[in-house]
Symmetry: C2
Subunit: 293 residues, 2 copies
């Protein structure tokens, strides 16, 4: 059966279900037991939140969702590191590709956003980012930050989709993929390197000037809350920015590159923070995941 991303006809946000089998039959979330629906080639299309993961956080329109694996079948406790494989890789793929995720909440203690009984379809979310960290258990877990689309992306789409009809029909598949932000210091770092990428020395030329991106080593925004300071910035071409943000390479404390060939160009006026580099290495780079897709 073809995997459907986005809304399922006939099931509006707020739809109530009595049990997982009803949800499975509806197509909102096919797997009758697993919390994540998806494959590593296609991406993930839906998740069920029903408690149980100690690192989960539910703020309503924003969810920190713990990946799959590493838990004991007997005790349910985390007893091993999670891997960026299978369902976790499916969620990562949806993040990379900007695919929408259907979120279903089940009733459970400790969440004020869950339904009073059974399950409820709570609409479409985007995975803004994912990372790994040592969870409360002491083992590495993968965490995925989901943002409700109503609150965010539907407004972005209004920028570009003119007719309401067009917007409606495209809604299922049209999503924002990557948002590159400008900050006060963006231009400073780009000027310092004259718009050349610190990895490949490429300088993008357009009809309106050179183009480069200022990449934050420790990301801005919750939960990483990296600062907007020059010690936390790199000047990268768009290609190396994507690779850096999605763990294609990282930078060691001695400024050697790991994950790809080549070296880092560093201007003598640019002091890069070792702490932020270590943060990136620990949370975003995973050598085990250099695999053949």
């Amino acid at each position: 059966m073809k995997r459907i991303f986005g809304e399922i006809e006939g099931f509006k946000e707020g739809h109530q279900f009595n049990n997982r089998m009803e949800i499975s039959i509806s197509g909102i979330h096919r797997p009758p037991q697993a919390g994540i629906s998806g494959s590593q080639n296609e991406g993930a299309d839906s998740i069920v939140i029903s408690g149980g993961y100690e690192d989960d956080k539910d703020f309503g329109n924003e969810i920190i969702y713990t990946g799959h694996g590493g838990r004991s079948n007997e005790t349910g406790k985390q007893v091993a590191d999670q891997q960026l494989t299978r369902q976790n890789l499916a969620l990562a793929k949806s993040c990379l590709e900007g695919l929408p995720i259907r979120v279903i909440r089940g009733r459970h203690k400790g969440s004020k956003f869950g339904p009073d009984e059974g399950y409820r379809y709570d609409g479409l979310y985007l995975i803004e980012k994912y990372w790994k960290k040592k969870g409360k258990s002491g083992y590495y877990v993968f965490l995925f930050k989901l943002i409700k689309i109503e609150k965010s992306i539907s407004n972005i789409q209004n920028i570009v989709e003119e007719s309401p009809e067009e917007y409606q029909t495209k809604r299922v598949s049209t999503q924002v993929q990557r948002i590159i932000r400008n900050t006060q210091l963006s231009r400073k770092i780009k000027d310092l390197y004259n718009y050349k990428c610190q990895i490949c020395n490429t300088r993008i030329e357009t009809s309106s000037g050179y183009y480069a991106e200022a990449a934050h080593i420790k990301p801005l925004g919750s939960p990483h809350n990296g600062p907007d300071v020059i010690e936390n910035l790199l000047c990268l071409c768009p290609n190396h920015h994507v690779m850096f943000d999605f763990g294609g390479f990282s930078i060691l404390p001695n400024l050697d590159i790991i994950g790809i060939e080549g070296g880092l160009t560093v201007h003598k006026k640019h002091k890069i923070s070792i702490d932020y580099l270590s943060y990136h290495f620990e949370h975003f780079y995973d050598e085990r995941n250099k695999k053949d897709f």
Copy 2:
């Protein structure tokens, strides 16, 4: 004097001015006569809309603004092609860098969004895109599509900026730069080329898989309204996507590349529309603008 992008302290949206000199002194729009404030190195920081350009369109939250130049001093009529230089290049730079533009409307006939008298500061806009076309006069003019930030980007920022204080203080300089959209056909074109760029054959590797972007030749959305069909798509790396969207190169009807070295890889199952290529060439590529910045 340092050019300020974004809000000017002490002047809220809706602030009324009697004349251009008052606006100039306030810092909302420094030039006492010119409609565009900016330089090609820094970008444009503000515009005044006061009628007179026959290709202008004002929809309130969305504005099609005509660039500067090519008009007769005597008659005010368009008598020559506009160039992507000076103030026009400043606006293009603000588009490329995602810089906010202050918009001031003056009273004039034919706009229901102008003030009843004098001038009014109407808040911050982003330039979503720019292009050139033969205007009503028969001469080429540059057109800039501006979108009000309140309606769009402030919501995007809510995704990433957590604390209201942080959001307030960063508002002036933090802007969205590039929005890459996914459409129903995005994956199809990427699969066809196995995520390799049709220009440079690069394939970006991340920890969650390969990454490429589906680029629309004739852009989606108004006023271009290019269709989301495979004949209107290219599979590009992020670097060549930026260059293509911002006129760094174009593709001729015989599929030769113009503007940069190299050739286009085309899969035998991929029929590219000559019409859409011609549209891109005419509206986005300008050989005269291959200059040294």
